[in-house]
Symmetry: C2
């Protein structure tokens, strides 16, 4: 078998386990069942695209963690986790998407074998990969246990990055920079969006600076013109248009660690509204970066950002950032702190955020963002090194350039579709 | 605003809604809250990478469906769904990842406003994007309602594809074929895996046959050698080795529709074990395709596959396929039927499956699969047109070719890492 390539040192995993156990003890938990794939990987190094079936890691107050999942994925677990093979438990395949069995029945049996039949067991109730059904099944199978919400217990321990983790994030940032450089070079009027995405994805996997690229937890987002009012649209085959801005939200990824970045490219000459928004946003970013200091609070960043924006008549309703690091789809945030007025979490050295003050207005959007590190002294450090500005390309030709996939019918499928009537299919009045 | 590009005709969405309502009535439901992003898109055309926050579609027995989600994503909803804008409800951003509020509180208010305070409301309890916490919050907020498990109600209606959907799947299949062709061309001894992935991802987005490519719901899987025992490993920067097989599980995607395909490439001369397994697997596939007829059952495919495999001494423990079509991460399966001995679902014309009899053995793996369509008469049709065999490349050089990202330190990060001791970090004995 190929030698295991555990990403971090044994000391790093010991540190993580120690943090989680301290939090478990503070919550009075005997055991913690971790289903968030990011938490699983952070604790055990497990890596695989298997989170579409039930799986998890059992953390106890002593002994190594136990990986639990589908039988066929236990082959992946013994190849990736730092624990010994006897800490890997696979369940039978007929538990998968069965109409008569649930994998939590198997987990309950293991938890009983481990002596937690009457224990206090924490579960991540607010997690993509711990379904309502999983929870109710586990409760039913362990009637004498106390099963309680431990959402975020592991996520919070991930907040402060070790030096080893920061190395990975800096590698991810180099990839993010490479992607943005490629975009600025390639985006032109008439180029179909999917062709630009093809190069983004290629750059992301090729990696940068001598290091290979992993898959980011979110695909590239790149809405244009009025669609840029909507932050989470992906792409299609339509060409970029002159006179429109497109924001690009992307991230390089190195061994599951991210450094997201957004920049906006305007093809043509932006109008005054756009220029004023850019100026206010850059001022806001700079004010926010200056407020992003150890000892300040999450809300201080949000409040600093708001001042120049509001002076320009822009009121944002959304939070302006979240913690980042190790992640699996569907999100590259850590789901703990939010950079917003009501979050008073104190910033500590080693915390990392995507400072993400997207402007999603009625019929346009602008994103200029930074992945940042809270330093022991002074303002935050930015992981990437892109100019903090709107990129404007005015020397564009309005004629579509030749395409990779060529042919005049290239966009035939994009020009079809139907235009719905205002009142939808039923023709009924709104309720 | 850019004109909406609804993928399907109004008739197609009416058909879908009619099917779901019939199923709701059979279950005695007044309303159905749909959280599976694939179900949401299938019903309403909603498309966006926003499923990392709580969102859903409310289906009623009359009136158009209602999209519900984060305020900023309602901008994406009005741009993608076929319903009128007043059928789009966004919740305030301070519900997102809050420690004091939950988005289900907002949903409960809307359900009350719609008159379901005492209603029977179906929810998808076994779904990635309906958390245990969401369920308990909804129950708490709607104490007089009957909230019951309606997992799969929509998924089952998706089983039989319309002609419109089959067009999309055929386009996806062309992309899958293009990806496999590229792999067979490019994979060589010494080429780093991530460089091959870069080209897979690029091919997937470029699309094929004049149609752009969307992102598949699963990233490329491509374990080599003994790692191919593990079905869900992704990639790193290590080069392909001679004397090893690598299976590639990929899918083209056209507007969220998939046609997954796996092929295995052996670099060098496979040994007899491998050749015998290939022969048995190809016989099993052909037997399975022949059994995949309207009127037969899901288990008939699995049983037909098993005969030649068992004759060759290979016993698979896993199901050998699942339905496919429209999907979002983390899975491109529909999570209804499983091709396995205990599933007696009758096959109907228009059903589509990934017939996926992966062999994941102790220290090797082999995948040759087909995306298939059940026809009114005769055996299943394969969407893709790849030779059904192990691809063998013997004319390889053992010398690494020049790399895109070059440099002798390219793999420095891959040769590091630590080798864990047999008993993990704690050094303790197994429990």
């Amino acid at each position: 078998m190929t030698a295991k390539q555990i990403p971090f040192t044994p000391e790093e995993y010991k540190r993580r386990l120690r943090l989680v156990r301290t939090a478990m003890q503070a919550s009075g938990l005997d055991a913690l069942f971790v289903t968030d794939p990011s938490n699983m990987a952070w604790l055990t190094a497990y890596d695989g695209w298997s989170f579409y079936v039930h799986q998890g890691v059992i953390v106890r107050l002593d002994g190594d963690p136990i990986w639990w999942g589908r039988g066929q994925d236990s082959n992946g677990a013994v190849r990736t986790v730092w624990m010994s093979d006897d800490h890997v438990h696979g369940y039978r395949d007929n538990f998968v998407q069965s109409r008569v069995r649930h994998p939590m029945q198997d987990l309950a049996r293991i938890l009983k074998d481990l002596g937690y039949e009457n224990g206090r067991i924490g579960v991540e109730m607010e997690n993509y990969y711990y379904s309502a059904k999983a929870h109710l099944t586990l409760i039913e199978e362990l009637p004498a246990a106390t099963i309680e919400d431990a959402t975020g217990i592991v996520n919070w321990q991930r907040s402060i990055k070790s030096e080893e983790e920061l190395i990975f994030m800096r590698r991810a940032a180099k990839i993010s920079d490479k992607i943005i450089n490629g975009l600025v070079e390639r985006v032109e009027v008439g180029v179909p969006k999917n062709e630009i995405v093809a190069e983004i994805l290629r750059d992301a996997a090729l990696g940068a600076d001598g290091h290979w690229g992993d898959y980011p937890a979110i695909v590239p987002l790149l809405p244009s013109g009025s669609d840029a009012a909507a932050p989470h649209l992906t792409w299609d085959g339509r060409p970029f248009q002159g006179g429109e801005a497109t924001f690009f939200e992307i991230s390089g990824c190195y061994r599951r660690y991210h450094a997201p970045l957004s920049r906006t490219i305007f093809l043509g000459e932006p109008d005054d509204t756009f220029k004023r928004a850019e100026a206010a946003l850059v001022m806001g970013l700079e004010a926010g970066l200056d407020a992003a200091r150890a000892g300040n609070r999450a809300c201080d960043i949000a409040n600093a950002l708001a001042v120049p924006l509001e002076a320009a008549g822009i009121t944002r309703g959304e939070r302006c950032g979240y913690p980042i690091g190790l992640s699996y789809p569907p999100d590259w945030g850590e789901r703990t702190i939010s950079l917003r007025a009501e979050d008073e979490t104190v910033l500590l050295p080693g915390m990392t955020f995507h400072f993400m003050p997207g402007l999603w207005m009625q019929d346009w959007g602008l994103e200029i963002t930074e992945s940042i590190l809270i330093k022991p002294e002074g303002p935050a450090e930015c992981f990437c090194s892109q100019p903090r500005k709107l990129f404007v390309k005015t020397n564009e030709q309005a004629i579509p350039r030749p395409s990779h996939i060529g042919g005049s019918d290239r966009l035939s499928d994009d020009l079809g579709g139907f235009e719905p009537s205002d009142d939808g299919l039923s023709g009924g009045k709104p309720h």
